[in-house]
């Protein structure tokens, strides 16, 4: 993981769980940097159920196991009890996390190991294709 764009979508969390997860994501990336682009910043979908984060993420911050750890902490369970599936999309791999039903989707824009530019291009393409959900009239 490096400087990339990732997206998360709540597909089964409670409001409290979602808010806790979003706050956890907001703390990822470097604590300080001379470049604002490298610090974690985000955009929340108009319905509040999805968000896109960009940062120069640490090596293990946004991995499948890492996200399982965040979810397990929120649910108060062992991470091993959370399963996942991966699907490839035009914008990058989408991981769906399941614990007694699907709970969360995570997408890494631009593929498994994209450059910053590739990830940004994929993110912008996604936003353009889903403008109705992300843009006001």
């Amino acid at each position: 993981m490096s400087h990339v764009y990732v997206g998360i979508e709540d597909i089964g969390l409670t409001v409290s769980q979602r808010n806790t997860l979003i706050e956890a994501f907001k703390r990822l990336g470097p604590a300080s940097s001379p470049s604002p682009a490298k610090l974690c910043h985000w955009r929340v979908r108009l319905d509040g159920l999805a968000a896109i984060f960009e940062a120069d993420f640490g090596e293990n911050e946004v991995t499948i196991e890492g996200v399982k750890g965040y979810l397990a902490s929120i649910f108060g369970i062992d991470p091993a009890l959370i399963s996942h599936s991966v699907a490839q999309t035009a914008y990058g791999p989408v991981v769906t996390f399941n614990r007694a039903g699907d709970k969360l989707r995570l997408v890494q824009f631009g593929g498994v190991s994209p450059t910053w530019a590739e990830s940004g291009d994929a993110c912008r393409a996604y936003l353009a294709a889903n403008a109705g959900e992300w843009e006001e009239n």
Binding site: Y5, P34, S35, P36, A37, L39, H41, W42, R43, V44, L46, I52, E54, G120, C123, R124, L127, A128, A131, W134, E135, E136
Partner: protein
Amino acid sequence: MPRRLALSRNLLGLGSGAYAERVLGMEPASLISYLPLWEASGAVAYDLSGNGRNGASVGVTLGEPGIGDGRTSYGFDGANDYVNWYSAGLAAAFNGDEGTLGPLFCKVANAGVWTDATLRNFVRITGNATNAIFFLKHSTSNLLSLRFFGNNITRQFDVSGISDVGFMALAITWSLAANEVKAWRNGVQVGATAAHPTWTASGLSTTATAIGAQNITPTAPHLGNIQHVPLRNKALTPAQIAYLSKP
């Protein structure tokens, strides 16, 4: 020269003859805030007016090529970057009766942005739901729009067929005393002079006074660069706008 202004200029290494000198030298008492957006590091967009009405830089890429004045610009990624210009001081100083926003210099990242069917804001000063001033690239292809929205009445100045990929100088001037609103692109007036619709907001929006986006969500984010964003409490003259529209 006020002491604070001198300090700001010294700290930022403003050299004699720079474009910014012309901005600062033009009706200096009218400058409410002036963000040159040329910082090389950090998350503060410093106000060069001396008033301390800085912006907060979120996600922007610093140090990108500028207008040719020897300084750099901010890059905006079209996804989640913006500068939050709101401060209580800016809100208190803003004058919806008399003022000038710009000339600010902006460019799109590439020609394809003009046809990407996405609304993108260069700057937006928002009073409330019925009062705002904003410059945008419309979702309609190749359409630039500069708008003064006051008292729920829109004064809209459009430039169609636009495909510029270089920096453009954009400005709006408003004067209730003269009962006029005018828009400018590269020093040339856009459309006809419109009547001032009155400004009925008190203060500014804490979440929608932004550069490079419509608000701090951010929706309608800009994809390209911006440099030199001054806000004044006086309508500059056509000659003054023309003078400041050249790098």
